[in-house]
């Protein structure tokens, strides 16, 4: 399959999964007994959060490949993946904040562990961009960015643990959302939404990567001509 065909197929799959998933979530899945209609935010918020984690993990994997093989393309791929992760992380915080507002009346609550964890990760990965922009392009920047990306992936479970034990003493986790026990219809709608958001991230990733590669190629062409 050529690249453009693969990209088109991915984009179409994204459209189908996402539209289908949202339709299922809003019209077909039953309403939650405790939270009512506001629980429906879960169908976008959690897939977006999981997708952000996936992006950071993928970015760290590409970073590892860079350190192993020193091939420059992994730097661009790692950078793009982390860029995606930050975008989806921001969306997680925004949708999570909306959910918090409708659930408990506050736009922010330190008791919501997922949100706090994402805030820490958002700060960490925002600093990634500060790091990149303050070093001259070259192998030095590539390696430093890659090491930092790996630290991020180590930070995820450590912060998760930290926020969890912080809840026992510092900021009591008195608010929790529905756990993993989902009745059949809800689970199916959720899975399709998850697949849709992951496909969306993959599509955007490929588009952005292609754009960056064209940028780099044109720059090289300009240097050859000038």
């Amino acid at each position: 399959m050529s690249t453009s065909l693969r990209n088109s197929t991915l984009a179409l799959a994204t459209a189908g999964l996402l539209v289908g998933g949202i339709a299922l979530a809003l019209f077909w899945a039953p309403e939650d007994a405790d939270q009512g209609f506001s629980q429906k935010i879960f169908y976008v918020h959690v897939p977006i959060a999981l997708t952000a984690y996936a992006c950071f993990g993928f970015g760290a994997w590409k970073a590892l490949r860079l350190l192993w093989t020193a091939e420059a393309r992994y730097d661009l791929e790692s950078y793009t993946a982390i860029h995606m992760g930050v975008i989806f992380g921001l969306l997680t915080l925004v949708t999570g904040s909306i959910w918090a507002k409708i659930s408990w009346g506050h736009w922010w609550t330190w008791g919501e562990r997922q949100l706090v964890l994402f805030l820490i990760l958002f700060l960490f990965y925002s600093a990634y961009f500060m790091l990149r922009y303050s070093i001259e392009p070259g192998p030095r920047r590539e390696r430093n960015s890659a090491v930092y990306a790996l630290f991020g992936v180590a930070l995820i479970p450590v912060s998760f643990l930290a926020v969890r034990i912080a809840g026992t003493i510092l900021h009591p986790t008195i608010f929790t959302h529905e756990g993993a026990n989902l009745p059949g219809k809800m689970l199916l709608a959720f899975c399709i939404c998850l697949a849709g958001v992951l496909a969306l991230a993959a599509t955007l990733y490929r588009v952005e990567l292609a754009g960056k590669r064209v940028d780099a190629s044109l720059r090289e062409l300009r240097e050859l001509l000038a």
């Binding site: 350190l67 600093a127 430093n144 180590a154």
Partner: protein, 213 residues
């Protein structure tokens, strides 16, 4: 293994001797932490809890560490010595370990003054807090040394190091404050140990990628 250990010892000793002669980083850290504690006294309203005071102690420690870390590679940078160090026939990770030991030593020395000052200004401290501080020092030094080396490569290094350091310092603060105030400090101390292990190993392994040209 003896060669590696000897390299580490030599590097650590070099940093400590340098500091002994120039005496610029440690006195600044000591003065900074005591000043910070005084500022905290005025920042806390009269009816603040002892918990709030303990929390602020941890902030003081984190920022004093940042101050010390900004200077961690300063000597090498100013004299252009980092390239020389990297060319030296030792494992790059030995540079990291030597530096980290040096930074830890500085932190411990600063805390030898900070903790009694805190006990004097605010309230008595228990063994859990001291243990937590000791564990936190290792983690802070490990992460901080690596990040300082990263920031040294950049243009805006004084700005960059705090940005890189603070998100990673959050779990340390959680563990430290938790250990200091919780009725059961064991889980927090265990967590700090885990943080130290994970990030020390990661920093040790990845240091050579950060400093190589």
């Amino acid at each position: 293994m003896t060669g590696y250990a000897a390299d580490v010892a030599a590097l650590a000793r070099k940093d400590l001797l340098l500091e002994l002669r120039s005496r610029d980083t440690l006195p600044a850290m000591l003065l900074f932490v005591v000043s910070a504690l005084v500022v905290f006294h005025f920042a806390l309203p009269a009816d603040s809890s002892t918990h709030a005071e303990t929390g602020l102690l941890w902030i003081a420690i984190v920022f004093t560490a940042l101050l010390g870390l900004t200077r961690a590679f300063a000597a090498e940078r100013e004299q252009g010595l980092l390239d020389g160090l990297v060319l030296a026939p030792c494992d790059r990770s030995a540079i990291w370990l030597g530096k980290t030991i040096g930074v830890t030593a500085f932190l411990v020395l600063a805390e030898l003054v900070a903790l009694p000052a805190f006990a004097l200004f605010f309230h008595a401290i228990g063994w859990e807090l001291v243990a937590a501080v000791a564990l936190a020092d290792v983690g802070i030094a490990a992460i901080g040394t690596l990040l300082a080396a990263m920031a040294a490569a950049s243009r805006a290094r004084e700005l960059l190091l705090p940005l890189l350091f603070l998100p990673l310092a959050i779990p340390v603060v959680i563990g430290g404050v938790g250990a200091s105030v919780a009725t059961n400090p064991a889980s927090f101390l265990g967590f700090l140990g885990l943080y130290d292990a994970v990030f020390a190993i990661l920093s040790w392994a990845s240091f050579e990628y950060v400093v190589t040209e």
